[in-house]
């Protein structure tokens, strides 16, 4: 009858009453009908009460804390926009990095929002649902704050104006989009491994460091502020992903092989998506944070290694694909940027050949691979450009049925040879960039045969008609503005002119 009773409750108990204490076993409708999706994946949960809340945040505290972050973020964005902060970036080439980021990420964060709403409704455990719901809310925050950050860039630079339309249609966007489509079409437990664990825990630093530290290094106050503001949300998401893995593994030994297969699949899927980030890190940032290889070593080999060590006691093994990814750290950024350079008539961002000084940086960062395999090619292409014979690849490549990259990656034991695998399934031939993508297909062929692969669709006339011009129209790419080389682009000219207006009295 007084506050003393209340004070006896520990924080943990108070939180329990404010979350799982709210739920009950339904009797007018069977629990299996109320929660129809949390058993079909084969994960066995015996006691949802064993779920440890990874963080204890009630809504009153959440609103206050997040509102404060939002006020600060929008104050900075407003000031950044008003003062034409975009002219303070190191070089207009930088803006192409954020074109890739802002064209893909808001829509992907949005899919994450919907996926966590699904998980936040479908898990039987109340504590798990609440944690997923909070993440759903955070994810829509990230989608919106990213769009709001991109909005001002879109006013002054090309390539971002059609991002909602292009996510579904632009050929290279099918790489990250198919990743999220794959995750959200899985059940709630696989979703948690795909996004909650692999993406948010194992790989998140490899996304955030390149883009957000990249922004900080390159004078992009807007993007940097968004990134730092999202960081404390991300910390919560990481603890949720890890808790979910541990929970599944502690509940039943039969869960181990299922979880292991998901970790294997999603580590590889995620690593493949990150090749886009690798190229950006090594080639697109005028002021580099670190090389992709260094980032991989710190954030995957060291941090990820410690994580897998921690999971060893549950019987989890480091995925086989890590061996190949480790070899590829020397190569993927170079292979991908070369691909973008050759196909840049079909990209909504500009590309360029690294300057001599940048080539030296790459040589120094990649002593085992760059001079041998990649430098000669860039020097040749630079020479060809000088002679007015700019190299373009007008042939369209075969795509991997799983990760949807063109076949541009090489054999793990021979960087001189393109890697290509094939599988016959129900009288059709399917192509893969690697053993690991092939294995992913073989585990769930009925899923991956559905993939909407941009190149075959193009040849079937489903991308606006037959030719490249029709493709541009269909994908809402403005040729001569959004695509091709940075050198001579409208972006380059405008930036130089505006920068002149901002820094001189001419």
């Amino acid at each position: 009858m007084d506050m003393k009773v209340d004070k006896k409750l520990s924080l943990k108990d108070r939180y329990r009453h404010q979350t799982r204490g709210l739920g009950w076993e339904t009797t007018y409708q069977p629990m299996d009908k109320v929660f129809p999706y949390d058993k079909y994946e084969g994960i066995k949960i015996h006691d949802w009460d064993q779920w440890e809340d990874p963080f204890r945040l009630t809504m009153d505290a959440y609103w206050k804390y997040q509102a404060e972050k939002e006020r600060k973020l929008y104050a900075v964005l407003d000031a950044f926009n008003q003062s034409h902060g975009h002219l303070n970036v190191t070089d207009a080439r930088y803006i192409n990095a954020i074109k890739i980021f802002f064209s893909a990420f808001p829509m992907l964060e949005y899919t994450a929002h919907r996926g966590f709403s699904m998980a936040g409704r479908q898990f039987r455990g109340v504590g798990t649902r609440v944690a997923c719901q909070l993440q759903s809310l955070d994810e829509i925050r990230h989608a919106q704050t990213q769009i709001h950050t991109a909005s001002n860039y879109n006013k002054y630079y090309n390539g971002m104006h059609a991002f909602t339309h292009q996510l579904e249609r632009m050929w290279y966007m099918s790489v990250p989009k198919s990743f999220f489509d794959d995750a959200i079409t899985g059940g709630p437990f696989e979703w948690m491994v795909a996004i909650g664990f692999s993406f948010e825990y194992v790989l998140t630093n490899l996304v955030f460091v390149p883009f957000m530290s990249g922004a900080a290094y390159n004078g992009d106050l807007g993007t940097m502020t968004f990134g730092f503001s999202a960081q404390s949300d991300e910390a919560r998401h990481m603890t949720l992903g890890l808790e979910c893995i541990k929970f599944m593994l502690e509940q039943d030994p039969d869960n181990l092989p299922i979880v292991q297969a998901w970790i294997d699949k999603w580590t590889w899927r995620g690593t493949r998506v990150l090749a886009l980030v690798a190229a950006m890190m090594d080639y697109m940032l005028p002021k580099r944070v670190m090389s992709w290889k260094e980032a991989w070593e710190i954030y995957f080999e060291q941090n990820g290694g410690a994580l897998f060590k921690d999971l060893e006691r549950y019987g989890i093994k480091v995925p086989d694909c890590v061996a190949q990814a480790t070899v590829e750290k020397e190569h993927i950024s170079h292979q991908l940027w070369a691909a973008m350079y050759q196909w840049n008539f079909g990209t909504a961002f500009h590309t360029w050949i690294p300057s001599p000084e940048e080539l030296d940086w790459l040589s120094a960062k990649y002593p085992n691979s760059f001079d041998k395999y990649y430098r000669p090619r860039w020097e040749l292409w630079a020479q060809m450009e000088k002679e007015g014979k700019r190299h373009l690849n007008t042939g369209l490549a075969q795509l991997c049925q799983v990760c949807q990259y063109p076949m541009i990656f090489t054999e793990p034991d021979d960087p001189g040879k393109l890697c290509h695998r094939e599988v016959d399934y129900k009288q059709e031939k399917y192509h893969f960039c690697s053993d690991h993508c092939q294995h992913i297909f073989e585990r769930e062929p009925e899923k991956y045969v559905q993939a909407w692969l941009p190149m075959p669709q193009f040849y079937q006339g489903n991308c606006g008609g037959g030719g490249v011009e029709e493709f541009f129209k269909w994908v809402h790419l403005v040729p001569g503005q959004d695509n091709m080389d940075f050198e001579g682009s409208q972006d380059q000219q405008n930036f130089a002119r505006w920068k002149g207006m901002a820094t001189s009295n001419q």
Partner: protein, 327 residues
């Protein structure tokens, strides 16, 4: 007098993204527009859900309602995450001070027995109903179509969790865990509560997300909110305590604001077509019948002979509301 501060004047290439220019013309878009319109994918999906193989990831067919443009479900509050959290943080702050004031004034210690009974036996078990409302709005966020409606439902879902937590805090302040256990027991077993619990549990297995919106946000809330925060509260204050009025400030502020959004959504769907109108009217009819019965069962022990008058007044307010949205 206006002070004319200057920044350098650079002419933008375009005022907004293409998809917003197509909708609203090439002019600067609001942050609500940028954060809402056309963000959900609509056409090219790589795989069908393993959990529902005959549908796409986002699929208009998950409701029987039809809309030419799902973004007609505009939120009159224009909430995006930033405005949403900032609004709720302010409301929470003022609710917290009312709550603290009530406790500091010793109102919890001096609670008249009749009022304590109302709080324990009527208000507290509602935390489970609120949790059900959280589940239902989360469902709509998961399976609804278009960012405009589903994002607003996600905000509503979290609001309902917040309200359930606010009710929990009231229980803990008055009688600690005992109060919560007793309230849960009522929810699970007391005959007066079973109509409502059945209604809520039945709503958990509804597959049509717009039907669920009607069942929860329109029908049930339109009956329960005035019942709790008008009639029961009036009764408590007549019994000599201001406590229930003070500690439920958040819910009243929230309902006044959120009701506007619910009405706007329903009005838009009804105005779209005769098909929608007929469907929604039939849902309202079905759900009203069981919600009315559940309400009456809850009101009877409190209002006795006045029950009919209380319930009629709530019903007739609901009828007025339905008329305003075109039903």
């Amino acid at each position: 007098m206006q002070i004319d501060l200057q920044t350098i004047d650079i002419k933008p290439l375009r005022q907004t993204f293409d998809h917003l220019a197509r909708r609203f013309g090439d002019k600067p878009a609001s942050r609500y527009q940028e954060g809402t319109y056309d963000i959900q994918q609509t056409s090219i999906f790589h795989y069908r859900p393993t959990w529902e193989p005959d549908r796409e990831i986002f699929d208009e067919r998950r409701t029987a309602i039809r809309m030419k443009d799902w973004y007609d479900f505009k939120d009159p509050r224009q909430f995006y995450y930033g405005t949403y959290t900032i609004t709720r943080a302010k409301q929470q702050e003022s609710a917290d001070s009312a709550f603290a004031f009530a406790l500091d004034a010793g109102l919890a210690d001096e609670l008249p027995a009749a009022v304590k009974k109302l709080v324990m036996e009527v208000l507290l078990p509602m935390r489970h109903m609120e949790w059900g409302a959280n589940m239902n709005n989360t469902f709509i966020s998961a399976y609804g179509y278009g960012t405009a409606i589903e994002a607003a439902c996600m905000y509503a879902a979290m609001d309902r969790l917040g309200i359930a937590q606010q009710l929990t805090r009231i229980g803990m302040a008055i009688d600690g865990e005992v109060a919560l256990d007793a309230a849960k027991e009522l929810w699970l077993s007391a005959p007066a509560w079973q109509g409502l619990r059945r209604y809520v549990e039945d709503s958990f297995v509804v597959h049509d997300w717009f039907e669920l919106f009607i069942a929860q946000n329109l029908v049930l809330d339109s009956l329960l909110y005035p019942f709790l925060y008008l009639h029961v509260e009036k009764r408590a204050s007549r019994e000599g305590s201001a406590l229930p009025g003070l500690v439920t400030k958040f819910m009243k502020d929230w309902e006044a604001e959120t009701g506007r959004w619910v009405d706007a959504v329903v009005k838009t769907a009804v105005a779209e077509s005769a098909h929608n109108k007929a469907l929604i009217a039939s849902w309202v009819k079905t759900y009203s019948a069981s919600a009315d019965a559940a309400l009456e069962a809850l009101a009877q022990p409190i209002f006795g002979a006045d029950t009919a008058a209380v319930v009629d007044s709530i019903r007739s307010d609901f009828q007025v509301r339905l008329q305003k949205v075109g039903l």
